[in-house]
Symmetry: D2
Subunit: 344 residues, 4 copies
């Protein structure tokens, strides 16, 4: 069985492991106050072209999302997000568990627009009974989205401007930020991310690390006392250095970018193979997640040899499925899959 099921089926890129091995007997202070975290943070500040941002390393995405949103909102505030946002549907109610409503906006493709945000905000404040409703306090989007799409610089700029205008914080879930940046058509840089958002994270778990996310906070008010919140939310790793060391490995010589570009390239070849057979995409993705719509019997055929995710029924005889590539996907795996698609 060859797995295209998700982008976290394997361990870590060998360079990451090599560094963990190499530094294993170093004695360092705990909780992220070590030299490796400091160094990785410095590398990220350089990537973002700014010294005046804060960088924190957390273990996983749900933890990072929950900690940021909890830190940002007052008790009566909620977080706007697309209905398909990870925080709305796949975190077991983690956001609500900290007391906050997720204010889901409709979205057919996992993205939302500046106009939608503005309208939701206006509707709140124009309602005569708004004190009886949850007040929007933050906007959460993912880049790339759960559907593989990316935001363009002009879209993100528009969202950022609306947020600024409405007093909403903007936070971007970057679990797959590398894959987004490797997509053809991407025109967003790390510096843009730091400039246009209050916080975003650079995903490690799905991008070559064993685990770990690098959270960048540009808004000093949001960063105030942030480490208390990481600790309270259970996200402060005792041996915090493990996070710093992994990001050092990923960011040196742009390994992060290389791995992302390779995986996206592979995904695009798979997409082309499906397209060549006339199978349309559920979402118009140019990143490492592809969502072909297949006749059910062809889907079953592929399932004999490949693991992939069932996404949704499309019609009586067709289903959308998800194929993921990742840092560990090999050329052989992709070539074999393509051959099998062509032979369907």
């Amino acid at each position: 069985m060859i797995r295209f099921e998700c982008d976290y089926s394997e361990g870590a890129h060998p360079e990451v492991l090599r560094r963990l091995q190499e530094t294993n007997l170093e004695q360092t202070p705990g909780y992220g106050e070590d030299c490796h975290c400091a160094n990785a943070a410095a590398m990220i500040k350089k990537l973002c072209g700014r010294e005046d941002i804060a960088v924190h390393f957390l273990v996983g995405g749900t933890q990072t999302n929950t900690t940021v949103i909890k830190a940002a909102l007052r008790p009566h505030q909620g977080v706007i997000c697309p209905v398909s946002g990870h925080i709305n549907i796949h975190e077991s109610g983690a956001i609500e568990s900290t007391g906050h409503k997720v204010l889901a906006l409709p979205s057919h493709d996992g993205k939302i627009t500046a106009e939608q945000i503005k309208r939701a905000w206006r509707e709140h404040w124009e309602d005569a009974t708004h004190e009886h409703m949850v007040q929007p306090g933050m906007v959460y989007i993912s880049n790339s989205t759960e559907s593989g799409l990316i935001y363009t610089l002009s879209e993100l700029t528009a969202i950022s401007e609306v947020c600024h205008e409405c007093g909403l914080l903007l936070y971007v879930d970057g679990a797959r930020l590398g894959y987004a940046m490797a997509a053809p058509g991407n025109d967003i840089t790390f510096a843009d991310m730091a400039r246009l958002t209050d916080a975003f994270y650079i995903g490690g778990t799905k991008q070559g690390a064993l685990f770990g996310e690098a959270l960048v906070i540009s808004n000093p008010a949001l960063n105030k006392d942030f480490r208390y919140l990481i600790k309270q939310q259970g996200g402060m790793l005792a041996k915090g250095r493990l996070l710093g060391i992994q990001f050092e490995a990923l960011l040196e010589n742009d390994l992060y970018g290389q791995l992302s570009r390779k995986a996206v390239g592979q995904a695009l070849r798979i997409m082309a193979a499906f397209a060549g057979k006339g199978y349309p995409q559920l979402f118009k993705s140019y990143t490492n997640q592809q969502f072909p719509i297949l006749p059910d019997e062809k889907m079953k055929k592929l399932a004999e040899k490949y693991a992939f995710s069932y996404w949704q029924r499309v019609d009586e005889n067709h289903s959308a499925v998800r194929f993921c590539t990742g840092w560990a996907t090999t050329e052989e795996q992709v070539s074999q899959l393509i051959a099998d698609i062509e032979a369907l």
Copy 2:
């Protein structure tokens, strides 16, 4: 200005005030452990035809909803409700503030069906990643609904059976339960409510009391330690007797039913007047809330003399509005309104 804006514009029915006056200098224990609460509870048990239920008196509806739902759910569970449910849109995120997601189901008229509940429950458990999603744990409906509609006995029975089958608790918000029971077509009794639900409340605030809701809990597991939760949620009135006394007054000689029937009768006459002019209803309500759709200029004309609630825009020239009657609405107010409707 004559107010048909809501059903809580005035104080309390004179009999309620008379009793408060009469008992004013009695010395009683606090926190609902007095003879009036005991007596009112006994009256409610009799109404429900059962001794094996618990009755608690709380000050308001949001408090009651929050306390019940918080008591019922484990941390990873959420409460299913119609998208228009009071807990979903008009309680400032009170439910989420206790850590639980509101799982809103679509509804065009404020009601949901047993089938919808069953489907939502099945979809949760059939999803391979259900452990990453909020588990449905309870169903919340209102009777009458926020749109003035009522559930029939067969609808409520179906919902109750589905809940039972799926291991979901069923809770009914009865802020306007009296008005529901007074509606033509209602075939639900207090005994049905106690039998078919795990908990429901008999609204006092909108039904003739100064304030207060009588919560009935039929499920002993839900009732365990319930008074701790009332206290924690800030709902345990020091002079709890004030609640007992008011419900004694309302329930004696069926004052509660009389006031409800009078108000519903008035509302139906108002509805008939609008219908006579050819103005349709937004929701097919037979209770004390009426939602006529009016041409905007007619709406403006009425607004010169009457206070009512703007509900929503229907088309370029028409709006839906809400007229409420209540225990305090006088025949003169209604007659005058009808005359003015007829003259529109």
Copy 3:
């Protein structure tokens, strides 16, 4: 049985009831946005000698404490209070239910000092691992305390200055503020309260109202969006005017002060009677709560005719008990009690 058990055994002062009766059929907007709340708020602003404060009316004390503390603290912060503080021991964990630790300081008499607060704050920040501990964010004290004692102006000023210096908010629970102000030796005015605290409340429930507390917020940052929080916490009374009307009644012609002084005078006579028999006080109270230490057999004798609260065992043969007076205590009740004490 004559009850000296607590200060909330009866209903309300007759003038309060008279006003509720008188205004009963007025039609007003709900949720505290009526003319009576506005008027009562204006009276309180005048009492405090300031226009730039906010006044909110809530139903009860636990609700008020919880709402203020929830509004004030960020998630990693806790509230400093004396170990005997109401929020620490008698609110069923209401504060913790909103996510915040109560940081209890030792106190033998229910009071804490500026020095204790300063020390707790300093110890937090000097600890190398303070990010792993709950950060003090607010100070809660009661005046009068649960033990009947009062703070002097110089004590309150010192606490206020330390709070200011340390960036801690100061909140005073005034469930019995009237009784505190009526105590011999009190030198604190409402204006002092507004000037020295970020928020405090003027208790109604234990001071002549049916229910209700008037919350005064001097700190505009704390007041931001405060009504959302009242609603979320279940404290926004639909017929909010009931609170406004009661405070109008209590504050007009200083009824509030008169009732407080009468009750405190009665309590001091009772204290003198116990002292005359050689029974010492557990706490040196000059307010409406008195805590004599009695030989057990004398205690039992009094208990045949009077209801009072058992407080704590003092030694093998002695117990401390609590006698409370209130707005409703009559001269006859007090005279009879004194006669019986003298005859012990």
Copy 4:
């Protein structure tokens, strides 16, 4: 600088790293549903001599404590623990952030007794106002404690029996369970732990793993839906296998026990050296944490060459400090320290 500061200064035991390396390219399902987690769980069940227990792997201790306690308690319940318990003082209010009060019992040495628990429970239920207080629902202890002490089998049995009798759940924080079991005088086995507690965890982070704790739940009611709670609390590692693999390495051939015994042996030699110089212990520890009381000038002398933790001032000229050994402590480090102690 040689570090005896804590037991998490280095990475992981080489065997742990070797296994991570070896399995790196295996493709497995995520979130702990892989064969390594299954295998490690089976090993733990065997250690405990039982099949009918559940094993979950989480990343860190605060996360594990918070998830268990949140899963166990209803909203009005709190967790009893010694005042020095990790959850009470060193988790940034994580427990309170889930809504629960920590009910701290006095303890001079980090342990509490069955009698104390029974008394706290009885005092709660005997208080006439217990509904206004937080109800004890669970007991939390650590073994070894934060002060290095261990519970004997008879002590743990007594606590377990009291918990059973009082309807309290019992949870043991085993961050340093291996070191406890390696202590001279220990008579508790893994099977005892599973039999006497509702849940406990076998610490990995401080015992040779990169990170990770193995939670054992013997109480099926507590285990119900537990994985939802792990996810909600942010503790469900995407590449869950990393936890399984590490515990496979630690548990095979009792590496866990060997590392623990070695570190405890080293600690006892250090203790003996201090004792030989006449320096008493703050806590009578026989585990890997030692708390000698040193004259301040001797402490300063040692601090020139060794990193250790300052614990507390004892008198004007003496301080208690903490020396920790761990899996990575070398014989050379210990011998050098002992030589320097002897030369003090």
